[in-house]
Subunit: 180 residues, 2 copies
């Protein structure tokens, strides 16, 4: 039932102009980082697999100022597979694994001061995250790079901001309840 999305994420990134494993990693770290991560240990073997399945082709590209690299291009079959994945109904919707809530859940066994400390740390981290989203948002919407995907990328950032803001407000509200 549960589909592994790794292959499709990589194929999706190939539809932007990222073509090598190294570039894909950079792209993910900069853009998808708030809702998806991939390591080299996944990227390179998956690229290999994608080629084996005839979903992409490789070309060796020599660069003047940098080491050589491999460039991957989706085949027609690859594009079709990607579109099919995209349109496929969602079924499983995500469940966040939240270690902060885990500790809050059991916080009866701890001083209120300590719990408030955890909450304020969490809020701080969320605040940093929020600022990051804002700066990425600003970069995209400044339109310097004329991105065809811009609108959709902004949607995901908007999601990140809304959810992060809600979480921050919860931190605040919960800490206040504990201070009463």
């Amino acid at each position: 039932m549960k589909t592994n999305h790794t292959k499709f994420v990589i194929m999706g990134i190939l539809t932007t102009n990222c073509r090598s494993g190294y570039q894909i990693k950079q792209f993910i770290d900069q853009s998808l980082n708030h809702f998806w991560k991939l390591s080299y240990g996944q990227i390179y073997p998956t690229l290999k697999q994608i080629v084996e399945e005839g979903l992409a082709t490789v070309q060796y590209a020599s660069q003047e100022d940098k080491p050589d690299k491999k460039e991957y291009f989706l085949t027609e079959k690859g594009k079709e597979a990607f579109y099919a994945w995209l349109e496929k109904p969602l079924e499983e919707i995500p469940v966040e694994k939240n270690n902060v809530l885990l500790k809050i859940f059991f916080s009866r066994h701890q001083s209120k001061a300590k719990t408030i400390e955890h909450l304020s740390y969490y809020k701080e981290k969320l605040q940093e995250r929020y600022v990051t989203y804002e700066s990425i948002e600003w970069m995209i919407s400044s339109g310097l790079s004329e991105l065809p995907d811009a609108q959709y990328w902004l949607f995901t950032l908007d999601y990140g901001k809304r959810v992060t803001k809600a979480a921050m407000e919860w931190c605040e509200a919960t800490a206040n309840k504990l201070k009463e």
Copy 2:
């Protein structure tokens, strides 16, 4: 760096009055389900390990109306280890792996109608989740069972509700932007 929380979740549940592997599973499915999951394949081996490390003891309990079971009790050492984990600073805060955002991110390659369809499906699922939270909240705060942890459990539900609501609003707003 990254600590595995599985052991501590189970130890935490042992501080409530869940004592067997089966009960622990039930407890998680009912209470922690919105931010933590565990399978039997984790629970039973971990319980074994907890005993081996001297963090808990086992007792065989025969029941009249049900099959026999094993009951686990935290030792002093176990309690101390649990409290230490609880108070330990958070460091890594969670990053949600969100397959819905993944599809939205690449939705340039798809009709707006299809994207709106995904959004409305997601919203529907979030709505169901929200209702579930409300019903659990109601159960806890009705106070029928006089739970010592009640306050903290309600905090985590409040988090779930706030974040889910924010996500639902995003679905609505994003679908509207696409309809313009």
